[in-house]
Assembly symmetry: C2
Homo-oligomer: 205 residues x 2
């Protein structure tokens, strides 16, 4: 399959100005040059655009976040088993530089209680500590056991998600599944949490 | 407590231009006019700014989303038990108008199997259906039972979150806790999912 950019636009449903923007930003790979000012695009460009749509529409990622994820996916020096971590780190929201030490301790205590092997530098630790700090400032009590409850709720799901990635041999396919799986299953989890809250609100009368 | 806008800026850590922007956009309530071109601000403005920071920094909400949440919180005609739903609906990411009917059926089947009381119009249904559609386009198999697994993982947590809100009598305090709780506990849940994936990746070798 070989398409001009206008044909790529029609096939992907992505407008021409957006395609040009993606090319400029390095989100879409360059086409194969066939003449001065003309290039052709193929199946891999369509796949890339499908991935970008999944990340922005379902994952609600900004284009800056999409770029960070794709840069990790495109780096051939990155071993497959490190890719998931790199993608996750790229997705983690930024946290303020100064987080209350008590909140950090609470998170450390929860992770110790779980016995999980996670890096001291995992940005998700700081995300949780910041969340604990904010909850406390609004008068919530948050103990390590409360956090452990959240961790256990997702433990088995995460184990399954990681195992599924093993089935896929081809790197490009694996990257796509991993990135989409990570972002999209998160969307499913949080949407079900909202439905569960609606259900429990309704049944309380 | 009565402060001028410069003092409100110092007390909240929010810059003066940002405060003025928030006032213009209706995110921060107007102060009490004391003279032409002068107004004073108090405790409720500080509380509002703390809520806005929690929503943007921890919840990663856009200012447009913050505005939608605050509009629901500020509407006195809205019964308390409908507030959570309204906040949730405001937070739900938008989905494309056309979602594959097979994906919608899969979600309906999962919710029927759970026996949950949720509105046919709950936007989270469409979020999940869109996620299913995207996963299938990347070659994942998604059955209702797979979705039920995600739903069950968050069921008890959601029941607890809803019950905690009952303890609080004062409407303004309740709104703050509900909104922050909804957004911040979601951040905790998704961050733990990332840590769990890291842990399971590490222990697989």
């Amino acid at each position: 399959m070989s398409m001009r950019i206008s044909e790529l636009s029609a096939a992907s449903g992505v407008s021409l100005p957006t395609l040009k923007f993606y090319l400029r930003e390095g989100i879409l790979q360059s086409g194969d040059a066939v003449a001065r000012n003309q290039a052709t695009y193929g199946e891999r460009h369509l796949r890339r655009l499908r991935l970008v749509r999944a990340l922005t529409e379902v994952g609600n990622l900004s284009l800056k976040e999409v770029k960070a994820v794709l840069d990790a996916a495109d780096d051939p020096s990155l071993p497959i088993h490190e890719l998931l971590g790199t993608v996750q780190y790229a997705l983690e929201p930024s946290t303020p530089a100064d987080i209350d030490a008590g909140a950090v301790d609470t998170v450390d205590a929860a992770i110790d209680a779980l016995g999980w092997r996670v890096s001291d530098k995992a940005p998700a630790r700081r995300s949780i500590a910041h969340a604990v700090e904010v909850l406390r400032s609004f008068g919530w009590t948050v103990e390590p056991a409360d956090l452990v409850r959240y961790a256990k709720a997702v433990d088995r799901l995460a184990a399954r998600e990681v195992a599924i990635s093993d089935d896929t041999a081809d790197r490009e396919q694996l990257v796509g599944r991993m990135v989409v799986g990570s972002v999209v299953f998160e969307a499913i989890l949080t949407a079900f949490r909202r439905l569960a809250q609606e259900h429990h609100s309704a049944t309380r009368g």
